[in-house]
């Protein structure tokens, strides 16, 4: 589904990503874990086309997307739920969902998909006429995920979906991610909460200062001494 091959990314003079490779297979949940500043968000931005790698290739469903613009990548079936939710706060919940469906060409089942999203997130239905900025952090996170679902993605990128949420909401977010994956969407997940991420992921990659230092089956990593010490506490 997604193959990232030896990418290097610079932010101005800063060498943020120093040759990272990983793969996400169809149907999987793959998690990138690592400390702040390890380059997780930069990788997500590069995959979804917001920034371009200096070298290396990214291929999505067999197409090289290293030089494809972000808005075209969305049309190809990749949705990115950015860090910090980034809902359109001055637009209503419904309008946010409409923005999620912006790239879709098939208008036929659009109404059915709004209903699908509302069934999954009943709070959003109640609040569909409310401005997104007036909702709580948890509700905004649900909206950000729902908005991404509206593009009917094959692959969904989630960047720190549990950040700043109360523990009970964190559990809810992770169970939603599992649900979405079960209904056929492949997931690439970046998380600070390594324990939770490794629990739902199939594969995981550990990042340190722009490099992959460890990779493998997620469940096995839960028992890895190195990972335990650094990320599971």
């Amino acid at each position: 589904m997604l193959k990232v091959d030896n990418i290097e990314v610079y932010y101005g003079a800063i060498h943020a990503i120093k040759g990272v490779s990983f793969e996400v297979k169809k149907g999987q949940i793959v998690s990138l874990i690592g400390a702040n500043g390890a380059g997780k968000t930069t990788i997500m931005h590069t995959v979804s086309g917001l920034i371009k790698p200096q070298t290396g290739t990214i291929s999505f469903s067999g197409t090289d997307i290293s030089n494809v613009r972000a808005h075209t990548i969305v049309e190809m079936g990749m949705a990115h739920v950015p860090e910090g939710r980034r809902v359109f706060s001055k637009m209503t919940v419904k309008e946010n969902l409409e923005m999620g469906a912006y790239s879709r060409k098939d208008k036929a089942d659009l109404e059915a998909d709004y209903e699908m999203v509302y069934t999954r997130f009943p709070r959003l239905k109640e609040r569909r006429k409310q401005l997104a900025g007036t909702m709580s952090g948890g509700e905004q996170q649900m909206l950000a995920i729902a908005r991404a679902l509206m593009s009917k993605p094959k692959l969904m990128l989630l960047d720190e979906p549990s950040m700043g949420l109360a523990p009970i909401l964190v559990d809810e977010v992770f169970s939603i991610i599992k649900d979405i994956n079960k209904s056929g969407t492949t997931i690439l997940l970046v998380e600070q909460n390594a324990h939770k991420a490794l629990n739902i992921a199939d594969q995981a990659y550990v990042l340190e200062t722009g490099n992959v230092v460890l990779s493998g089956e997620a469940k096995k990593m839960l028992d890895n001494e190195q990972v335990k010490k650094a990320y599971l506490g």
Partner: protein, 293 residues
């Protein structure tokens, strides 16, 4: 009393033109955070395109408006692509200075081509005369100006609130990166914003030249500045604010001309800018938000 009503009529007339132009300022500011000081010159170009359509192409007045709006929409997009797009990630002051440069360029370009001496906008036969009630005169030009302005403002409001492109404009103005992640082509959306703002500016230009019968290269400066003040007064970046600000400006200008002194009216109008910036910089409809550093 009739004098007062006459001033109100004049104020609403010129105010609706300010409102049309203020919309262009506020839309562009909303989406790229740029005060497009070349926007007053869009009014001037609109007037020239209108004049050209009427006197050279012999088009009917209605069609001349359409031509002027379409031509300015195109020029507006061109200005964005040539002058502002390369500076999208540059400091805001660079784009602002560029806007001043574009303005000077347009004024002098039109001066070289058409000469500095004012051209006369011909009388539009169907617009001559008006309604007279005692000493109060309501010309057809005024009626047309106000009606057209309101129609286009309502249409704009519809576009921004209800259509896909309008929603994309709002999304881009709030968060460009998030909009890209929705599949929005940000540059195209910005171009459309320039096109819409410039088309409204052109309409303002044609209506302005019909009211004052004159077309010259520097005619956009004063109404452009006043419309900018109107946009700030209403709350820059807020579309209904620009409309409100335009009408308020027109009324203040007209009443101060009528009751204080016509030579002081500009000072009063720009004095308002200073007062707004001192006491409510976010404008009438704006919320006071501190800029995040």
């Amino acid at each position: 009393m009739s004098g007062f009503i006459q001033q109100l009529i004049n104020g609403i007339h010129v105010g609706s033109i300010y409102a049309l132009i203020a919309l262009g300022y506020t839309m562009v500011y909303g989406i790229v955070k740029l005060i497009n000081f070349a926007h007053g010159d869009i009014l001037m170009m609109g007037a020239y395109f209108g004049l050209f359509s009427i006197t050279v192409l012999h088009l009917p007045f209605g069609l001349a408006i359409v031509v002027a709006m379409a031509a300015c929409a195109l020029v507006g997009m061109l200005i964005d692509v040539i002058a502002y797009k390369p500076l999208r990630n540059a400091p805001r002051i660079s784009a602002l200075i560029t806007a001043l440069g574009v303005s000077l360029f347009l004024e002098n370009f039109f001066r070289v081509i058409f000469g500095a001496e004012p051209k006369k906008m011909p009388n539009i036969p169907s617009l001559e005369g008006g309604f007279v009630l005692g000493t109060i005169k309501l010309s057809y030009v005024t009626v047309l100006t106000v009606i057209l302005s309101i129609v286009f403002m309502v249409a704009l409001q519809f576009v921004v609130k209800k259509t896909k492109v309008g929603k994309a404009m709002r999304a881009v103005s709030e968060d460009k990166e998030a909009a890209r992640l929705m599949g929005v082509n940000v540059n195209k959306t910005i171009s459309i914003t320039f096109a819409l703002g410039s088309a409204l500016g052109a309409l303002g230009g044609v209506l302005y030249s019909v009211a004052y019968y004159q077309v010259e290269p520097y005619m956009g400066i004063m109404p452009g500045l006043k419309a900018f003040v109107a946009a700030v007064l209403g709350g820059i970046g807020i579309i209904p604010g620009a409309m409100l600000g335009g009408f308020v400006m027109g009324l203040i200008e007209s009443l101060s001309k009528g009751y204080i002194s016509s030579s002081w009216s500009n000072a009063i109008v720009f004095g308002i800018l200073i007062l707004v910036l001192l006491f409510k910089p976010s404008g009438i409809l704006g919320k006071n938000v501190r800029e995040k550093v």
